[in-house]
């Protein structure tokens, strides 16, 4: 028997025991994306429709390459955590597990594919 008050036992822990990590990650990534996304939209929107040489020239620029990599990694991390909430609201049991595993692994696959493309273009 540990002499702890109920409050002390509960503080910082959600039902999963991991506290507010998920919410805090979404807050941090939301602020980061809010800063990065408008510039990224402008760059991607302007580049889309250009020739192959123009596309390569744009994504070879260090600023564009680094910004795009950050938007992809932070954006997809934000995505799979958001999709997790959706899945947990509407699915149960094994379907939920498979859906969660699929969404998380697919997100990392997209990150890897995007980073591979950026690295190959930039280097």
């Amino acid at each position: 028997m540990r002499y702890l008050t109920d409050r002390k036992r509960a503080e910082g822990k959600g039902a999963s025991g991991t506290g507010t990590e998920h919410h805090w990650y979404m807050t941090v990534s939301a602020v980061g994306l809010a800063v990065m996304v408008p510039t990224f939209l402008y760059i991607f929107g302007s580049t889309l429709g250009g020739s192959h040489e123009e596309v390569l020239a744009t994504f070879q620029r260090p600023f564009v390459a680094i910004l795009s990599a950050m938007v992809l990694v932070v954006g997809l991390n934000h995505f799979h955590r958001g999709a997790r909430v959706l899945i947990e609201d509407y699915m149960r049991g094994m379907n939920r597990k498979f859906a969660l595993i699929f969404v998380i692994t697919f997100s990392y696959f997209l990150m890897a594919a995007g980073l591979y493309a950026l690295a190959k273009i930039a280097l």
Partner: protein, 127 residues
Amino acid sequence: MADVKPVERPLSPHLQIYRPQMTSISSILTRITGNGLIVGVVLMIWWLVAAAVGPEYFATVNAIATSWFGDLVFTLSLLAVWYHYLAGLRHLYFDAGKGLEIETAETLGWACIVGSVVLTVLTLLVI
């Protein structure tokens, strides 16, 4: 005495007769736009990988990305990203404990919807 009277009143939240509210609609839209954005992201990354692979493969994927289908996906994604952007800012404002009065929350919901359309049109004009 054992007559079971059928319940004639509607059972609570019944979607067909439930009056849509800005607070719930704006929340549902946040979820739909956030999750729907994956479609545009997949097309964008495919296009980027194609650019890295080589000119021939790029020509194939670029034709899809700039076709009517690509335009549709990217335009809807633009609308989705701006809505989700504004709704996200609204959430950060809510998290600070502000704007939670029903009237303010409803006004902010309308601001997200109208703002996302305005920003989408502006972006399409700029790029």
